[in-house]
Assembly symmetry: C2
Homo-oligomer: 612 residues x 2
């Protein structure tokens, strides 16, 4: 164990060694104000929301404080734990006494809610009592809640040094180890996350039983042991064993959390067969079931991955939590393999599918992240983007998940090997590894220049994104896709941020004949607010878009492309032998980064526009 590592997935067994908070520190640029709002506004308001929604009430009741009944969904505790994890990482970035007190006070409640034998799930305790434990694990989320508690405990001890929550986590994990396994209870939770958590607890404590149990949970799945509860085995990633699966399927968050946990197991056990299976699954997901934004999950029904190439922009589910789980999985694959493609994937998810899930203000969230919204938006359920971002949800998995991701983002920037430091994501800040301190100065993703100063001569490996054709390092051309290696003290990387017009694999039926705009890591969206013509009528011409810095949306670079206004529309029966898609006058088409959409109004938005 790296003694000082303050970040998630603190493995020492992969090709790359993570650095953690403090060793990697974002100090400016694109992400710093987002992290500041996360710490100053989102995390405090999150605690208020947990109070209002009853999550804290449940834990207090289970702790013997007050009277009443459990409120909310069965997984209510998990949101508290995700908040505690976010608060711990935030404290790691920015130690603050008030935050520390909040963490400690809440930890006392959680500890008091735990049963004598280590069991802990306030909702089950209150609603069903001890006899109700694990009675319908497929739906009860008991291991899911336990997993988030363990993750919070690990973050807490890594960032505050406090063992309060860790003691609870160890007692709970010991109880789980005593309860589940081949000669014990043979069952798995309908919602993975316990796998990642147990491996982290193993990394933190060195107790191999936790790794063993994580491995058991990974391998127990896929043999149809999960009762269906109205869903297919695929929904629970229980149709095919992880080692045999060739793709992801079912509920997207469950699927990627499971895969991330399996990657953790593969990392720590050196199981190359399992790792190879996960590589195949990630590749297949990335080439056939991923949106341009890195969004995962094509179906509202079952919050699920669709078939290959089933990627409708309008009905994309692309849950914010799925992008987060995708980042967690890709990060573990990156550590295991050192393959830059995983860092490219993280970048895409981070700047697009993930970041669209939170407002510029930092305190309003999207659960669902489509790539198109029509003007005539159907009055839908509370998760619909047609209502705009919201302060909280009945099922509030996403907001605290965003908080913990932003608070721990520094940890995803860089890694080290014996002989080099790898920079995977470019953000203004400092990177420390051993004796070396790197200072990174960049306005990325608005500007493609990244200047790095090392405190002493060193070797760096800088990711050159696959899109970055024409990149140079210290004036020398470097290949796009992979890492450019350099040694010395001063480095200047230039990533050409030429606006790109991209098309889709023709097998993606839903965007046939359409193109989208990108620049650097950013996918762009065309919003009604920036365009006078109806955005649903716009067709894009192939002329190169122009990038212009602006003041809108906290200062994004806008893209101005050329397009034509469609004139093929008419009323009556929609299908005809003379149906056409003709276009009229030319107009400018103004696009803003996708992550920033729906911060001004809820109106027509499109990532994909028809080719003129």
């Amino acid at each position: 164990m790296s003694e000082a590592l303050r970040g998630p997935a603190a493995t020492t067994r992969g090709r790359l060694r993570p650095l953690g908070l403090g060793a990697a520190t974002i100090t400016g640029g694109f992400w710093a104000p987002r992290q500041a709002r996360n710490g100053a506004d989102a995390i405090p308001s999150g605690q208020d929301q947990l109070e209002k929604a009853g999550n804290l009430h449940n834990l207090r009741l289970a702790a013997g404080i007050g009277t009443g009944e459990a409120i909310g969904p069965v997984f209510a505790d998990s949101d508290v734990y995700k908040w505690l994890e976010a608060a711990a990482w935030e404290y790691g970035r920015n130690p603050d006494d008030d935050l520390h007190k909040r963490i400690r006070d809440l930890t006392v409640v959680v500890a008091a809610a735990q049963r004598e034998d280590g069991y802990l799930d306030s909702v089950v305790q209150l609603r069903q009592g001890d006899e109700g434990r694990y009675q319908e694990l497929v739906w009860s989320h008991e291991h899911y809640c336990a997993g988030h508690l363990i993750q919070a405990a690990v973050a807490q001890v890594r960032c505050t040094g406090d063992r309060g929550l860790l003691d609870v986590a160890i007692k709970l994990a010991d109880h789980l180890f005593a309860t589940f396994g081949d000669d014990k209870t043979v069952d798995v939770d309908g919602h993975p996350v316990i796998e990642m958590a147990l491996v982290e607890l193993y990394r933190e404590t060195g107790t191999t039983a936790y790794l063993e149990l994580a491995k058991w949970f990974v391998d127990a799945r896929g043999h149809g042991i999960i009762e269906r509860h109205g869903h297919s085995a695929a929904y629970f990633s229980d149709r095919v064993p992880v080692r045999e699966a060739t793709s992801v399927e079912g509920h997207s968050v469950r699927a990627v959390y499971l895969a991330a946990g399996a990657a953790d197991v593969a990392l720590e056990t050196g199981d190359s067969d399992l790792l190879d299976a996960l590589k195949r699954q990630f590749d297949h997901m990335w080439s056939t079931k991923t949106y341009l934004t890195g969004g995962l999950g094509a179906r509202w029904e079952g919050e699920a991955f669709g078939d290959e190439y089933e990627l409708p922009p309008d009905r994309a589910y692309a849950e914010t939590c799925a992008a987060i789980g995708g980042i967690q999985w890709a990060w573990r694959m990156l550590l295991a393999t050192g393959d830059a493609a995983y860092a490219d994937a993280i970048e895409r998810m981070l700047y697009n599918g993930f970041l669209a899930g939170v407002s510029l203000s930092g305190t309003e969230y999207f659960y669902v992240n489509p790539l198109q919204l029509r003007g005539a938006a159907y009055p839908d359920t509370g998760r619909s983007p047609a209502h705009g971002r919201r302060g909280w949800f009945d099922c509030a998995c996403c907001p605290p998940n965003i908080m913990r991701t932003l608070a721990s983002l520094d940890a995803y920037l860089a890694t080290a090997t014996e002989d080099a430091i790898q920079l995977h994501q470019y953000a203004a800040g400092t990177i420390t590894s051993g004796e070396v301190e790197l200072t990174v100065d960049t306005a990325y993703p608005w500007d493609g220049s990244v200047r790095i100063s090392a405190s002493t001569p060193t070797v760096v490996e800088l990711r050159i994104p696959a899109w970055a054709e024409g990149a140079t390092l210290n004036g020398e051309a470097v290949a796009a896709g992979g890492y450019a290696r350099g040694s010395g003290q001063e480095f200047e990387l230039l990533l050409p941020l030429v606006p790109r017009i991209v098309g889709a694999d023709p097998r993606i039926d839903a965007v046939r004949g359409c193109v989208a705009l990108e620049r650097g890591p950013l996918v762009y969206a065309v919003e009604q607010a920036d365009n006078t013509a109806n955005v649903d009528d716009l067709h894009l011409l192939p002329e190169a878009p122009i990038a212009t810095p602006s003041d809108v949306l906290d200062g994004v670079t806008i893209l101005t492309a050329r397009g034509k206004i469609g004139t093929g529309h008419r009323g009556g029966w929609a299908y005809r032998t003379d149906a056409d898609d003709s276009t009229g006058p030319e107009v400018d088409v103004v696009a803003v980064p996708y992550y920033a959409w729906a911060n001004r109004e809820i109106a027509v938005m499109r990532v994909w526009l028809p080719r003129a």
Copy 2:
């Protein structure tokens, strides 16, 4: 009331007067063998399925026969009533003693299950007792079950003369009238159908209270009186009053059943404002929310209509029941207005969106009717077409709905006015109105020739479908869209069945750049079974397809078009600046009628193919 009218929607107040079974009789051609299989196989096996699924068990228990608990969903009774309705129409077409005995025996059970005061819902009676009545009408389907019982009772008395079920229906309707209304209980069922049913009972009995209550139910909706039960008000068609709505929204079957009931109210009360509102809604649905197949409902989530132009072929829900409800609504609009567009709509729904819901064998059903199935079909829930048609469903609304539609199909062929007989659908058979008997001889839809002989000189009005450019009546050109009027005794109508290549309104994003094949009333589908190239790779050329009679699929006319094989496919990240949709060698593309798909294997199927 027309004394002898044996069919649904027996109104005398519209522009057109329905004729009913017996007056219109299908004797051969396309539909006769389908009706024969419906009577000989589907209806008997349906009763077995109702026995197996517990629906009959519930009613017996409520009748005091046997012991046990209610089984199945809250709306279980409704499937029994739809079966009883189907059996009654079938008896009307083809009187059979065994069927009559089955109907009578089951009617005795239903009558015995009814409570003293007229209330009847076996599941509520068994699970909640008398106190449980109407406690959560939004979800309990109590009026929905009542509506189907009333419809069955009306069919029974019209076709068998038996009043057994009618007495139950009257007692139940009287109970409803005594219970619901402005000064009584102000609530409506989450699932409409009671509206249509009460109007039919009024037509049968002359009791105006039933019409009054139907009107009240129509008008009570849309004021947010429905508790949500986890769904939006739109789901229940409760967001906007029927009179103010400009479109359909929410659960598609609920929406079209409500609209059909409202049309019944408008018909009988002469409420032209209500009728105008329904015209607007139908037009809007038909031009913006209807699939090429006439399928209704774009979303699996909430089984709902989507936004305008949101019509994905792969994730189409297009529930079989929605097509049936659409036919019922269109039929009432046709009777009210005499507008041939409604008969065109019925034809499209009947031959495509509806008929795909039942196998060629007549006893296997689709719940969901997409316009595309990918090869890599996701293992989904029991309703998924990726499993093929099924003998029954947990939620078994569709199978008995298909049975009652096929058994009463004769009633949708023709109507009469003072001075003419209108033929809306062309089927081999006889039409009797007053003194006149028409004999219709046709192999439609395979052949476009329809020969009609009248027993005495008469005036006929023959629907010329909007697609039938170049049609002739007795050698004279007649305009497509509307009715061609002729007088005499012998008529020969020629509807040119030229294969058509149709495109979609460019606002339907999901099929941009694609075309589909049609011939006459039939939409065609390209199935893997008929093509050697991967159907997902095929692109269609604009060359005229060739129609060829065949023996496949019980003898369909196949279409052979020309296409090219797509070569733009590749692996890796699916979005690139050089993405293209290029094509290689030319091939034949063989298509079969959409209704017949999935009768050989479950593999790739497409209605829409990219343009080459």
